[in-house]
């Protein structure tokens, strides 16, 4: 049977079709990605598809995720592929969902209610679910949640020091995200270290073109992570501000007369790399501008991005009592050697030493060690395989519900 996995990033849509055989062996049939969906930048949006060792790429305007999904479905159907089941990534399941589940009427309603929890992602993912249900009416759809991996966070890491009555009323706590990616990275690290992985202290940096986060993982369990109640907290991201003073919003509304909706829009869509640089949300544009020697706010944007990541890494080294593996994943994590190099500067204090040559030569599509010989910690560039994790979740769900054989 064929499972189609749809993975909405904040500025991209990745889709993959997997064939699952009777012995649950999973093979990738088709993959594709819509890039820079609805993004302002110097490069236009594009769609690429890999099928039967051919690559099709087209540059075209893609306004939103719904139209990206429609393009993907047309391409899949155009190649004559039959879809039996569809898996969706959903960022924030709030307190409704603890694990993956099929989408029925009731589930859809709950997903709908989760929209405000991740105002960038959840509405976009819902629009893709709706579009997929239009195209593929008679197949089961399921959702996999990004918040699930961080259920293991201890109380002292997830609690906010807010008045009890507010925490209880609104369910404020740190949920954490990118859990599907962290599952994938953790699995790969386990495989690499074999039986010794149970006590490994891992700091994983998921650096995406949209959102970014860091997680402290010990013995395959998440102990802390930089995103919080929503994906707005933590690192500086492409258009999200990350950590700010909670009083900032109140000050700007009281003293400067900002409206709350406008301010939320500024913090989530006009801040981060875009807000600091003033010209692009894409770190590649920032780096290009710096090497062109046209320093303006581009160097500040890059320095802030690195500074904030270094703070989180340090905090998690202290939490874990050291670090055995420092892993970089997702687009910026595997593609951007300069970011990795800057992050690892002066990290000798915790045994992290990068081999600058290995780092510059690293290929993005394989697990690559980057540490120098005298580094105590292993540094890895690991491509995240979120879609595969989502596919496996689907296989589990199907088996559980129908006892179907593959």
């Amino acid at each position: 049977m064929n499972i189609l996995v749809l993975n909405c990033g904040s500025s991209s849509l990745t889709f993959k079709v997997f064939a699952v055989d009777d012995s649950e062996i999973i093979r990738e049939v088709l993959s594709g990605k819509a890039n820079r969906v609805g993004v302002k930048g110097t490069e236009p949006s594009s769609m690429e598809i890999h099928f039967e060792s051919k690559t099709y790429k087209e540059i075209l305007p893609i306004e939103d995720h719904r139209s990206a999904a429609a393009l993907a479905f047309e391409a899949i159907l155009g190649h004559g592929i039959v879809i039996h089941c569809i898996g969706h990534r959903f960022v924030h399941g709030g307190s409704y969902f603890k694990g993956s589940t099929f989408i029925d009427k009731d589930t859809f309603e709950k997903l709908n209610q989760c929209q405000p929890l991740a105002p960038i992602h959840n509405p976009v993912a819902l629009s893709v679910i709706r579009e997929a249900q239009k195209y593929f009416r008679d197949v089961p759809h399921y959702v996999v949640f990004d918040s699930a991996f961080h259920h293991s966070l201890p109380l002292y890491a997830y609690v906010y020091a807010l008045p009890k009555r507010l925490t209880e009323k609104f369910g404020f706590r740190k949920y954490g995200f990118h859990g599907i990616s962290y599952s994938s990275v953790t699995e790969d690290i386990s495989r690499l270290f074999g039986g010794a992985s149970g006590k490994l202290k891992v700091i994983a940096c998921h650096l995406g073109t949209g959102g970014s986060s860091v997680a402290a993982i010990k013995g395959n369990r998440s102990l802390d992570t930089s995103m919080g109640y929503s994906p707005l907290q933590g690192l500086m991201m492409s258009t999200r501000c990350g950590d700010i003073d909670p009083m900032l919003a109140i000050y700007l509304m009281t003293v400067h007369g900002y409206r709350s909706d406008d301010l939320m829009e500024i913090f989530s869509k006009k801040s981060g790399i875009l807000g600091v640089s003033g010209f692009s949300s894409d770190i590649r544009d920032i780096i290009k501008r710096i090497s062109d020697n046209e320093e303006d706010q581009a160097d500040l944007a890059l320095n802030m991005y690195v500074h904030r990541l270094r703070k989180y890494i340090g905090a998690y080294v202290a939490v874990l009592g050291g670090v055995d593996v420092l892993a970089f994943t997702d687009d910026i994590g595997v593609h951007n050697w300069l970011v990795r190099e800057k992050v690892c500067e002066e990290m000798g204090w915790c045994g992290v030493k990068l081999d600058t040559d290995l780092n510059r030569q690293a290929v993005p599509d394989a697990v690559t060690p980057l540490q120098s010989k005298d580094s105590k910690a292993v540094i890895l560039s690991i491509p995240t395989r979120e879609e595969l994790v989502i596919c496996r979740e689907g296989v589990k769900l199907l088996k559980h519900s129908n006892d179907i054989a593959f």
């Binding site: 807010l162 609104f170 950590d243 700010i244 003073d245 909670p246 905090a315 939490v319």
Partner: protein, 359 residues
């Protein structure tokens, strides 16, 4: 005699320093405040200098201490909007006393001044220029304390203190990273609400939470009150709880849980700042409660044992500045007894001395 003012809304605190003796007073800041202050002074002609604490210098005051002149008073006034209650009070007090005693130096010591030169990657928020040019940045805080900690550590030759982490332990616990005397990070941001949780303020939270509370119909004042007065240890526990309640081995398991949350947050800040410094030579604690808070200090050092830090087994908590680490420890640990009035007084005296040299 030196007269020092410290705003603590709704109270005004002041003290007289005479022959090394400090006498502290306080009163409600009402229309009769000036009379009340005068009532504690036998002879105003004996006042040689007046000092004022400015908690948030904003963009107007960027020095740890400035000599107050009619022009610089304008800069102090400019900073009012950032911490309106505190700053408004000290501007009123300074305005009154500068008019009353015209021939002596008036000096403002500014708690954000030490951090005015933080590198921009640490001081900037990742928000658009439109907001940054409105003075939206991380200002740091407790600069009087952290600068004093750095100067003291250097003069006592605690390890080589090129890379210093200074921790203020108290009801407003906060952390600073200092490289060769220059402040390069602070846990405090635009206001002291960012950073460590305290007895009643929330510390770091997801910014989305504020917007959720607004959509739920809470007013800005209510939210401000909730985050800065009803949160922190008190919010977690659901009843009043201060820093001292956390120390030692609290009987109540819920208080122990609050302490665990506090220690965890502190450990993260220390780790973050070690990372920014690229290592650390000295971790120094400054507190009014050196002895009572010893277990907090030791917990932090214990959490850094993986860096080779060697805790002393026997520490004399009554020493002038208890050394917490062995001589051969690669990272030094020390605790200072922090007396705010004393430090303010030193800073005022220092500027007075420098001022008269210039004249």
């Amino acid at each position: 005699m030196i007269l020092l003012f410290d705003p603590d809304p709704p109270l005004l605190r002041w003290c007289k320093v005479e022959n090394g003796n400090i006498t502290e007073h306080r009163c409600e800041f009402d229309s009769a405040w000036d009379e009340k202050v005068l009532g504690t002074i036998d002879d105003v002609r004996r006042i040689e200098a007046v000092g004022y604490v400015l908690y948030h210098g904003g963009q107007g005051v960027r020095e740890p201490a400035i000599l107050l002149t009619p022009e610089s008073l304008l800069n102090v006034e400019k900073s009012m909007q950032f911490l309106p209650e505190h700053n408004d009070m000290i501007v009123k007090v300074a305005g009154e006393w500068i008019a009353r005693l015209i021939n002596i130096p008036h000096i403002v010591v500014c708690d954000t001044g030490f951090f005015a030169g933080m590198p921009s990657e640490a001081s900037a928020y990742a928000v658009p220029f439109e907001l940054r040019r409105k003075g939206i940045r991380r200002y740091g805080g407790y600069g009087l304390c952290h600068q004093w900690v750095w100067e003291k550590s250097r003069s006592l030759r605690i390890n080589r203190c090129e890379k210093l982490i200074s921790v203020y332990l108290g009801d407003r616990t906060n952390v600073a990273a200092i490289r060769n005397g220059r402040a390069i990070e602070s846990s405090i941001g635009f206001t002291p609400a960012e950073g460590m949780l305290s007895s009643n303020s929330c510390g770091d939270i997801d910014p989305t939470i504020v917007f959720q509370l607004i959509s739920a119909g809470m007013s800005l004042e209510e939210i401000n009150q909730a985050l800065s007065q009803e949160a922190g240890f008190t919010g977690l526990l659901g009843r009043p709880c201060g820093f001292l309640d956390l120390l030692g081995e609290p009987d109540d398991s819920q208080v122990r849980s609050v302490k665990e949350i506090f220690l965890y947050a502190l450990r993260k800040y220390i780790g973050a700042f070690v990372s920014i410094l690229g290592g650390v030579d000295v971790i120094a604690f400054a507190t009014k409660y050196p002895e009572q808070s010893m277990d907090v200090q030791l917990d932090i050092l214990r959490s850094l044992e993986f860096l080779g830090i060697k805790k002393k087994t026997i520490i004399d908590p009554h020493a002038d500045h208890p050394i917490l680490t062995e001589k051969d420890s690669p990272i030094g640990g020390v605790c200072y007894h922090y007396d705010k009035w004393n430090v303010i007084n030193e800073r005022v005296k220092q500027l007075r001395r420098n001022g008269s040299e210039k004249r």
